[in-house]
Subunit: 240 residues, 2 copies
DNA sequence: CGCACAGTTGACGCACATCAACCTGGGTGG
DNA sequence: CCACCCAGGTTGATGTGCGTCAACTGTGCG
């Protein structure tokens, strides 16, 4: 595991190979030219209601899908890791019913034309690969609903840490028990449906239990089995 | 709006025409022979971890997707209405990471062979139709996450009622302000991530505010605009 | 060196959970 | 046809996990 950011800018080469290989079935994309650009923390990759042009692939950093309620309440509905498609199904048709924002400074690949809808005849392999990703996204969404509805704050937090480790390990960005996580407690709170104050207290608990340490953006699972047990984590939903 | 059930058995013809027409793009399915069978309340249409054979279409009644945690906690991750595919993406490959259960007695259509994966070359229209449904399912899941994480109990309940009205109206099973809803408070609780006692109190509040009545399985929205406002309901996520 | 943002902590309040008792209506069987 | 039965609904009393408010502390960056 290496830091993506040395100093201010992500000038150290992001681990592209692993990420690109994560785009397995979407390999055709790699052939296509896609333009990389940097997005600052807090910026939107896709605004709510926008009709996205093409596809956005996250290459380095973390983005999220989120929705706002009129009075300022925010719910993050997905946290994306390198190799993920930010606006997976938004590109399929119509305007997005969610926004995509950057949780850290990140590097995003942009494919201007939409290769799914534009290609005629439809690229079958691409479509199949897309279906697999849609399916995985939905499985993750289901698991988040379980956390939001039926897990306690500390269980939800532990579960999120376990899920992210698995997903990051899939693209070579996590070891067996650690990874880089530079997301603020405010953002974690909006993902878990609680307040940042309570995220802080739950983190403290996990630390006191000797399950994790989280310092300077590096998460270490000191006792991963115990953490997974506390979280009621069953990774089968993440398998292809 | 007519009752599906007269007496004990759903012998009155379910509103098949509307439901079938809801299968728009999946019209090819209608050509195929699919076997109808009845499922009693509480029975599973698909068990957790099972590899589903073919597809299940809900024709009458309500089913749900749900997940159990080891200690008995349950979270319903989707409520399905006639015209919906119960195991939409489960059929695409592999074992289901959720179960599908009947919330009321229902009528389910079963297509034994999987027309998506088996057909070679892939049926493009069918696939496109399936993508649209996947996309809608995911939009609904996102909105549920917003409810679970950021709406109060009464707002979530109101929102669910609004969502179901829209979805049922799409298949001709709801008027502008009423529909049949024979789901128990226990099931509503597991969908909303709260307890049935609290569902009861939230319902009482909505009744006292003059927004709804719910008697003998008939939900009437006495003041739909006010209900939608309370729920922070924006139906755009349900549009195709 | 100091600003600004993120994290930390304590006191207190509320939404929702828990427990337990009681009600209600429609289905069933004698 | 009535009397029972029991799942589901209703209500009150009390407990608690998380929210709110507010002050303070670290830490990275200009």
């Amino acid at each position: 595991m290496q830091s993506i950011y040395k100093g201010k800018l992500p000038l150290s080469p992001p681990p592209k190979l692993a990420v690109i290989s994560a785009l397995d079935g979407i390999g055709t994309l790699v052939g296509a030219k896609f333009r990389e650009h940097q997005v600052d923390k807090g910026q939107d990759v896709l605004r709510f209601g926008e009709v996205p042009e093409g596809l956005h692939v996250l290459i380095a950093g973390h983005t999220c899908r989120y929705r706002m309620l009129g009075d300022g309440r925010r719910q993050i509905t997905a946290i994306l890791v390198p190799g993920d498609l930010c606006d997976l199904e938004a590109g399929l048709r119509g305007r997005a019913d969610y926004a995509v924002g950057a949780l850290t400074r990140c590097l995003v690949g942009h494919l201007p034309a939409d290769p799914i809808c534009d290609a005629k005849p439809l690229n079958q392999e691409l479509l199949a690969a897309l279906l697999i990703r849609l399916r995985r996204d939905e499985a993750i969404a289901r698991e988040w609903m379980v956390s939001l509805g039926r897990r306690s704050a500390i269980e939800s937090l532990a579960h999120l840490f376990c899920e992210l480790r698995t997903r990051l390990a899939d693209v070579g960005l996590a070891t067996e028990d650690s990874y880089e996580l530079r997301i603020t407690q405010d953002d974690l709170a909006d993902a878990l449906g609680i307040t940042s104050v309570h995220v802080n207290r739950a983190l403290k608990q996990l630390r006191e239990y000797g399950l994790i340490t989280l310092k300077r953006g590096i998460l270490v699972m000191s006792d991963r089995p115990a953490l997974e047990k506390l979280a009621l984590f069953d990774p089968s939903y993440l398998q292809p």
